[in-house]
């Protein structure tokens, strides 16, 4: 319980690492890149985060998707779950350019590492499935309350929404502007009625 005090904030450093990994991916992010972004020295890096891979794992574990968090908030606020979902996707379409370019962190990981690093891919898949579960809960709630008339299997609807999310996160890089994305989103949401 003694020792020299840490000169940096672990949380802050982790946030910087997250941003970097999110935009450049795992392989293309070098440890030197990380040190620069996190503004810490090599010793501090290896001392507190053990290594690049271990840091990446921690980044995945700590990652909170802001959009999803917003969706969750809307729901808890008592909003119509169907409207919450629709808002979620409309917000995606209206994101700033740099968000379009980054896409979904977990989706990016699945794509980059599916034939490179299965354990890391699995961690990302687990996160995407959590998102799917969130959708499923909302759909069930909407069906029970009668706000959603469709009696399609909630499991399939949820999986459809996740696929939409995954797809949009690539398509939005092809068309990083709301004018193209919004009509697309509306068509995709037409299932929810």
């Amino acid at each position: 319980m003694a020792g020299r005090p840490q000169i940096f904030s672990e949380e802050e450093a982790l946030g910087k690492a997250t941003q970097l990994f999110w935009s450049k991916g795992y392989e293309a992010t070098s440890t030197d890149d990380l040190l620069a972004a996190m503004s810490i020295g090599k010793s501090s890096f290896y001392n507190t985060f053990k290594g690049k891979r271990e840091l990446f794992e921690k980044v995945i574990e700590n990652f909170v998707n802001q959009s999803v968090a917003g969706l969750l908030k809307d729901t808890e606020a008592g909003t119509d779950p169907v409207q919450a979902i629709k808002n979620f996707f409309r917000k995606l379409a209206n994101s700033p350019q740099n968000m379009h370019q980054k896409g979904c962190f977990m989706g990016n990981i699945v794509v980059e590492l599916s034939n490179i690093d299965k354990p890391l891919e699995s961690m990302a898949i687990k996160r995407l499935k959590k998102m799917e579960q969130l959708f499923q809960d909302l759909i069930i709630k909407a069906q029970q309350s009668g706000l959603l008339k469709s009696n399609e299997d909630p499991v399939v609807i949820a999986r459809y929404l996740v696929t939409m999310w995954n797809g949009l996160n690539i398509t939005r890089r092809m068309y990083p502007d709301p004018e193209r994305l919004l009509p697309l989103v509306e068509m995709q949401l037409s299932v929810l009625k």
Copy 2:
């Protein structure tokens, strides 16, 4: 017009390189990996393909999506364009495991390189847009012939289909089995009526 003859088939070597890049991505594929997969020496490699990046460009340019080629064939065979599209996606759902794991080569490139190498990303995006154009042509044909009653904008429908494709190529890695994917695909295809 003299000189020692090439000991390998350029086309074959390019095919091997394509498979490797497709499964491991750009960054994680080393030149040594390539040499081994292509079964050629370093000299031959740099002599005929100039370098890793140039090879990758050539691979993208020469890439023919087998599934898309099949779709095109079905169409030319005079099949109902709507059915052709439906078959296309159902076939995707029924692909073997390793295809699920590989996903869409062009989509993979967009994800991996969107913040790393814009020129390469653009090449991949161009290809995805070609696919979108193919969908659009089919939708227009289907609407004109009355096989598709929906009068939604063909541009939006095509973009919706590409987004479906992009999304499925991630979701199929979460659920690499037809039992989960088929109901999902059917729901997504419900727009086509």
